[in-house]
Symmetry: C2
Subunit: 313 residues, 2 copies
């Protein structure tokens, strides 16, 4: 049995995961991220101890602990950056090892989600797989030969910050044209807001949000597009165009066997997938040759726990 921890800005979810990647028991607590790192790490320890106790295991029956973080860790499991948590240089692995005498692994949340999807989800068994998580930002995870890949300096697989065009607003990272400024939920909200504000075009969206731009979200936009609303369709088509360019760039570089789309935006499901596949076909470098399969991720928010646990395998 392995422990997988999904450390998020809002909640800490943890689970006992078996060799097949199944979650046998799961618990979750609020992160309360404004607290000091040590207080949060103490909560992670307690959460793991509770899981073990509740499941009727002893500490030494755990083969390892994996933790997915919304940030960057080095190979020794020190958290270098975690913007949402305000963490810099936090030795997460060594702090957990004070309590647990087992291997501890720390990696980026999108990276561990990719590992989960590769182990038992939408990219199951693929020799190479790339996951794009389209949420408020865009996370990227790369798996080669069943192992996560983050590059020589561990600054790779930042697929959301690949520059793919000129955009009307800059990315938080300071660059212009990052994939996440075109194809995240934030991106489609910003663009739709711009359309709503700059034109008088009739739109179902105006009724749904009742004049309150704060109510605008990706689900409303996709629902209105599915219902045939032309302003919403314009926003969705733009997201699809740039997501396809981003995916085609991934293919032009690393040509993985499978590319999975996850995160909140992927809740648009088959409707989104069909459009993306069609659009990617337009940008293929070799029209008659096969490219990797493009799929919707399967494991949802369980990918964090499962993938973190699978870091230990």
């Amino acid at each position: 049995m392995y422990i997988g921890v999904d450390l998020g800005g809002t909640n800490i979810a943890a689970g006992i995961v078996n060799d097949s990647g199944e979650i046998m028991l799961e618990m979750s607590i609020p992160t309360l991220s404004e607290r000091a790192a040590d207080a949060i790490i103490d909560d992670i320890k307690s959460l793991i101890l509770n899981l073990i106790k509740e499941f009727g295991l002893s500490k030494n029956e755990i083969k390892g602990i994996g933790i997915g973080i919304p940030g960057l860790a080095d190979a020794d499991g020190n958290v270098i950056h975690c913007v949402n948590l305000g963490w810099n240089d936090v030795p997460l692995t060594s702090k957990l090892k004070q309590e647990f005498d087992v291997p501890v692994f720390v990696d980026n949340d999108a990276t561990v989600a990719a590992l989960a999807e590769n182990f038992c989800g939408a990219m199951r068994g693929a020799e190479s797989g790339v996951l794009l998580t389209l949420g408020t930002g865009i996370g990227g995870g790369i798996v080669f030969g069943g192992k996560v890949y983050s590059g020589f300096n561990r600054v790779g697989s930042e697929i959301g910050h690949m520059v793919i065009g000129d955009n009307f607003y800059d990315c938080n990272c300071g660059k212009n044209g990052c994939l996440e400024t075109f194809a995240s939920s934030t991106a489609i909200i910003k663009y739709t807001k711009k359309l709503l504000e700059e034109t008088n075009e009739e739109s179902l969206i105006r009724d749904k949000i009742n004049g309150d731009m704060g109510k605008l979200n990706a689900k409303i936009i996709f629902d209105c597009a599915k219902a045939g609303d032309s302003l919403a369709e314009k926003s969705v088509r733009r997201l699809v165009k740039y997501l396809a360019i981003g995916i085609e760039n991934v293919i032009s570089l690393i040509d993985p066997q499978v590319i999975a789309i996850g995160g909140g935006v992927s809740n648009a499901g088959q409707y989104l997938l069909d459009m993306v596949i069609k659009e990617v076909e337009k940008y293929k470098n070799y029209k008659e040759l096969p490219i990797g399969k493009i799929v919707i991720a399967k494991l949802g928010n369980k990918a964090g726990i499962i993938g973190a646990a699978m870091l230990c395998k």
Copy 2:
């Protein structure tokens, strides 16, 4: 001893290469690419036989034959595409095996050049390396753990066709914004021509080409920029900006240990390299973390023969 063949649109160069990647003997003949594939393949066979004879070897003392092509081959050494040669579905490996009873490998020319630079050139010994060859187009080669990487369907490492922005002309491939439309010699010539035609700005370039746009080339533009010509500097700065975005995209995805810049444009040497390194720093996702080393390729046009031979190792 290995045989490396660099099959180009203009010449076929081949060499006997030792275990250290040194060319012991080299010969070259014109490709005469308008001929049928079989005639060209017969010439390749003769060239190899001449090399072996001249060097005093027998056929069975050769450990393998590698061939770099300006196109795409499948894993069995069938040439799928070779635009310059007009080849489609040419079983190059099996045709050579009719004459030589040794392993035969075929791969893309930029890919084999990357292998050579990784084996004994500018990326020597790097765990992961990416070569960008900036010529009339942009070729890309990826080496992981000493082996070439082209992806699951072998359509990867096409780094020149990564979309990185909006451009004023479309790429030959049909897309807009490919790296090679910003940072190849063709790209800088096109942009400079545009500047010369659209403005009356004084420029050293006008004197050098004496009104004949056909004389414009990357060397003239770089030489004039080095001499402080402002129009030429503008062209070079644009190339540098987009090359840096392209390199930063490569880092954001695969974060290699070393990135080498080769091809004709790289003859601008340290002048170009210093600007590119400075520009890449601006686009880094993690300002204080290290990224891969950026260098100028070392092996020049010998990389084709050496890398092809090293496919056999």
